[in-house]
């Protein structure tokens, strides 16, 4: 790093000051168990606050309103986490997945149409998975039929996080049913106000309902909303999303570090038996093991982002960091649940807008499967790491 240390210190103090005057006190309590509309309104308000300061999309290129160095982003995320600032949950897909796709594979017109709109609050969701196409995503069946002005899409998508509130959707659909399954898919931008769309929430393990099913019946998508070449949607999705998976880890690993501090603080408070867990050598051993893995993860997240920015990311880098993060999150929240004891089972709601480690340990533990299953399950990540990272042979194709 060429930037002198004092520059970071100045920036750190600036972010810290900003957090002090902008992070609303008591937002956790106020946002626990609120109806969906209040959560959405709060997210939109917080997005505007961050955006005004240039903190909403720091990872974007400067010409589109970002331009922070990796070192500055780390400082920003550390300070936001330390201040226990709300997270941008609703804008996550827009800021990361949609932006990465448009920047890497979109047309100039698509970028000009959507990137400023995202900074103005446009919400996105992702329509990739289908009931019969989960881990085997390439077998998706939602079909896009050629029309005079574009395509008409019919099918069903599932696990679309935030789809009820989304303005736009990143959509994968089959444009050539006769081609081999990976060669017949196209990548589209779909307006969620289109006719023929029906969005239904699915209640998930935590009791919340952020995931949705999307039913598509002859939904019209105009020509200009195709991303990348026709039938090359699989490649577009693979390239842009793998890179993006690495970028999100910079924020999430710093949040996890902050969650670790809460875990240590929790261990320092006497339990029901009057004993402080942290005085137990076995607890100390587990804590430092977690902390050591966390230190490695944070260094790795930083390295992967630097490699992505330098255009020399390894083919399995994103999978390695995602697997390491999600399994560490699961182990850490599992341990937090054990430490917090029976009391955490009486916390029936966790504050929306918080991180994946909100300090409501039992619900955090349950929601950690939202990291080990979506975005390619841990098993799929291991297959990617084995095949693309290590060059191990693929499994033979099953006929049919």
């Amino acid at each position: 790093m060429q930037v002198p240390q004092s520059d970071y210190d100045d920036f750190r103090l600036a972010v810290r000051d900003w957090c002090r005057s902008n992070v609303p006190s008591g937002w956790r309590e106020a946002q626990t168990g609120v109806p969906d509309e209040e959560f959405v309104a709060f997210q939109r308000w917080w997005f505007d606050c961050l955006q005004r300061e240039g903190y909403a999309a720091p990872h974007w290129p400067a010409q589109w309103g970002g331009g922070m160095s990796v070192a500055e982003q780390i400082v920003l995320y550390q300070e936001l986490a330390a201040a226990d600032a709300p997270r941008l949950v609703l804008a996550f897909v827009a800021l990361h997945h949609a932006a990465a796709t448009l920047l890497a594979a979109g047309t100039d017109a698509q970028r000009a149409r959507h990137l400023p709109a995202i900074l103005a609050g446009e919400i996105w969701c992702q329509g990739f998975s289908e009931p019969e196409a989960g881990s085997d995503l390439a077998s998706l069946q939602t079909a896009a039929r050629r029309t005079e002005s574009g395509w008409a899409v019919t099918g069903q998508k599932v696990w679309a996080s935030g789809a009820l509130h989304a303005d736009w959707c990143l959509l994968l659909a089959r444009t050539d049913p006769d081609a081999p399954k990976r060669a017949g898919i196209s990548y589209f931008l779909m307006d969620m106000r289109s006719r023929g769309l029906d969005v239904r929430p699915i209640r998930q393990a935590t009791g919340e309902a952020h995931f949705c099913e999307i039913f598509l019946q002859e939904v019209e998508i105009p020509e200009e909303n195709l991303v990348g070449p026709e039938h090359a949607g699989w490649q577009v999705a693979q390239e842009t999303l793998a890179a993006e998976r690495g970028m999100t880890m910079l924020e999430l690993s710093e949040r996890l570090q902050n969650g670790f501090r809460w875990l240590v603080a929790r261990c320092g408070r006497p339990g029901a038996d009057g004993v402080r867990p942290i005085d137990d050598a076995a607890v100390q051993d587990r804590l430092v093991t977690l902390e050591t893995e966390l230190t490695g993860l944070r260094a790795l997240a930083r390295r992967v982002v630097e490699h992505v920015e330098a255009g020399r990311a390894g083919p399995a880098d994103a999978s390695i960091v995602k697997l390491a993060y999600s399994e560490l999150l699961q182990r850490m929240t599992d341990f937090g649940t054990e430490i917090a004891g029976v009391g955490t089972h009486a916390e029936l709601r966790k504050p929306l807008s918080s991180g994946w480690e909100s300090g409501v340990w039992a619900l955090d533990f349950i929601s950690s499967w939202e990291w080990t299953i979506p975005g390619g399950t841990s098993e799929i990540q291991r297959t990617i790491i084995g095949e693309r990272g290590l060059g191990l042979p693929r499994e033979p194709r099953v006929a049919g």
Partner: protein, 373 residues
């Protein structure tokens, strides 16, 4: 990274890997980890001196390269990858580290010069942090007398000079330099399962030492002694990282080639996912090692913490990787011929040297409980 420093290390790594691959058959003999014939060992040692590895941290005026621990780390990892024999840890890591930690003294520079030239092999009885030294130094008729006994001293059987951290009543510990053949000094060979390393028990029975052989540590003595121990801990950690990488590569190569049920075993998820887990844990090990090497090389105050993190994670991970490698190689993996047992023994020995994982985690935990997070 494209700094001049990174280029130097990349070049050093390339040269080291080639040299060690070329030397390998000579020390492997009739089977891995058995045929450590003396001639081959001597040849390798001469080569290490010639390539400048022994004097990496020795000043240029004394025939060294005036490099840092960052370069030593590259060699350590490559030695581990090759599971090479030789007293590099005792001489270039601990010996040079101890000599660099004492103030200017008669004979010190001459010894550094000998080390860089490959003419002196050192072993250091570092002792454990927070523990009284195993050797005691007392004023005596002929200036000083030292006594004590330290077991499992790395590279002691090969050493011609022994450096002991010795405690003194009413004063700070000092570094005592003994000639291996001095009256009262004995080095007992301590055979261990890992035949690629040599350990020994160093015994000093009322050995007379001249004042010129008692050297004072510079700065705070406990810091200097801890740093020496940290160098040893990180050395075996880097050794383990190198072994783990070599074992993963060997396993992947075998899994691509070995066929069962009509297809390469690496195409089975059970095997593939085990290899993926090996890569993930090695990747984290590498990050932790990089942080620790940078801290140790720059003398950062946090070095003790980052060394403990690296030691507790990477060394345990390497044992797991070596064990999984044996498992995935199947029956062949369990044979003496495959050589995988040597990796398992060396990584397991590394885990026990310079503080167990548990003791390093206890050291880290002290920070948690005192709120120094």
């Amino acid at each position: 990274m494209t700094s001049p420093e990174a280029d130097v290390r990349r070049e050093l790594r390339l040269v080291a890997r080639q040299a060690l691959v070329a030397a390998r058959p000579h020390w492997r003999g009739d089977g891995p980890a058995t045929g450590l014939d003396e001639q081959a060992r001597a040849r390798l040692w001469a080569q290490m001196a010639e390539l400048g590895w022994l004097g990496l941290e020795v000043p240029e005026a004394l025939g060294g390269a005036a490099a840092s621990f960052g370069e030593v780390a590259v060699v350590l990892e490559e030695l581990g990858r090759a599971m090479a024999p030789g007293a590099f840890v005792g001489t270039a890591v601990l010996g040079v580290g101890a000599l660099g930690a004492v103030g200017p003294a008669a004979g010190r520079d001459a010894l550094l010069r000998d080390v860089a030239a490959g003419e002196s092999v050192l072993a250091v009885a570092t002792g454990e942090p927070e523990t009284a030294p195993a050797f005691v130094l007392e004023p005596a008729r002929r200036q000083y007398r030292v006594r004590g006994r330290a077991a499992f001293v790395v590279d002691a059987p090969d050493a011609d000079r022994l450096l002991l951290v010795a405690g003194r009543a009413g004063s700070d510990p000092a570094l005592v330099v003994l000639d291996r053949h001095q009256p009262g000094v004995a080095v007992e060979d301590q055979p261990v399962l890992d035949a690629t390393r040599r350990l020994g028990t160093v015994v000093a029975e009322e050995v007379d030492v001249a004042e010129s052989a008692v050297w004072q540590f510079e700065g705070k003595v406990t810091d200097a002694v801890n740093r020496l121990h940290d160098r040893g801990a990180l050395a075996v950690t880097l050794d383990s990282l190198g072994i783990a990488e070599a074992m993963l590569e060997a396993t992947v190569a075998y899994a691509c080639e070995r066929r069962q049920f009509g297809r390469p075993i690496g195409s089975f998820q059970a095997v593939k996912h085990a290899c993926a887990d090996m890569l993930v844990t090695i990747t984290l090990s590498r990050e932790l090692c990089t942080l620790a090497v940078d801290d140790l090389a720059s003398g950062a105050p946090g070095a003790t913490t980052s060394v403990s993190r690296a030691k507790s994670h990477a060394v345990a991970a390497a044992v797991e990787v070596a064990g999984k490698s044996m498992q995935l190689h199947g029956g062949y993996g369990y044979t003496w011929e495959s050589g995988i047992h040597a990796a398992l023994k060396r990584t397991a020995l590394n885990r026990s040297l310079f503080g167990s994982g548990r003791s390093h985690r206890a050291r880290l935990a002290a920070r948690l409980t005192t709120g120094l997070l």
